[in-house]
């Protein structure tokens, strides 16, 4: 009886974790992902608890305490630094879109990276130099 209950619970929690992952992929905003990742952490806690129910181990219980803190700190940090995102920006791009964008930029990968670095250096110079506004 215990085995059947543990297997059923494990399946339910695994499905919940998959659904949370679907929401992480879809977004559409950073905050939706923060909420979904919080759920994912709690499903992880649930999975470890189910394993402990089956094996009657107690040494995994400190992991539960630590994980429940990780979920909280993660979502609060992401909420703290949430910014306005441009329309259509908050989603995972497909490989085709990435390739199309690279073609549109019309520069080889290596030069593109160098260009990005140059821009970064410029930004750094501005922020440290304290350019007058």
């Amino acid at each position: 009886m215990m085995l059947a209950a543990v297997i059923a619970a494990a399946v339910l929690v695994a499905v919940a974790a998959m659904l949370a992952l679907v929401r992480v992929e879809r977004g559409p905003s950073m905050l939706d992902r923060a909420v979904a990742l919080d759920t994912l952490t709690v499903t992880l806690v649930c999975a470890i608890a189910i394993e402990a129910v089956w094996s009657r181990r107690t040494e995994t219980i400190p992991i539960l305490v630590a994980l429940s803190m990780v979920g909280f700190v993660g979502s609060v940090t992401m909420a703290r630094f949430a910014a306005k995102e441009p329309e259509g920006e908050g989603r995972v791009r497909t490989p085709e879109e990435v390739a199309a964008q690279a073609r549109a930029a019309d520069v080889p990968r290596g030069e593109q990276r160098d260009g990005a670095r140059a821009i970064d250096a410029e930004d750094d110079a501005e922020s440290t130099g304290g350019a007058p506004r």
Binding site: A9, L12, L19, I50, V53, I61
Partner: protein
């Protein structure tokens, strides 16, 4: 009163643990389903902060009934207390950040105590 077999209490505890386990896993699944199916950020936060916490409490009750040691129960109570304290804080932070960055429809808030978003 007749003698009660100590094995009976073990069976009872295991049965209650199995029921709590299934109920908790079902509530966690409900949280996951709501996360995918609900249309807006606030609705998704609702699914996460309510059934998920109760589901976790039920699962940890099942674990406590199964392990039956006081030191383990103390840790589990700590986990539950931490979830109960932190999940409203996290939900508040996420909801406020969502409002400030324009991801919440002001029409959804009645009364709207934040004022107009900028």
């Amino acid at each position: 009163m007749t003698h009660v077999d100590p094995g009976l209490w073990t069976t009872i505890a295991d049965t209650v643990a199995a029921v709590c386990l299934l109920a908790g896993a079902f509530l966690t699944l409900a949280a996951g389903l709501g996360l995918v199916r609900f249309p807006s950020l606030l609705a998704r936060m609702h699914t996460v902060t309510k059934p998920q916490v109760l589901g976790l409490i039920l699962l940890l009750t099942a674990l406590a009934l199964r392990v039956r040691s006081w030191s383990a129960v103390a840790m589990l109570v700590l986990v539950v207390a931490f979830q109960l304290v932190t999940s409203p804080v996290a939900a508040h932070m996420v909801g406020r950040a969502g409002f400030r960055t324009g991801k919440v429809d002001p029409e959804d808030l009645r009364p709207n105590e934040f004022g107009e978003p900028d």
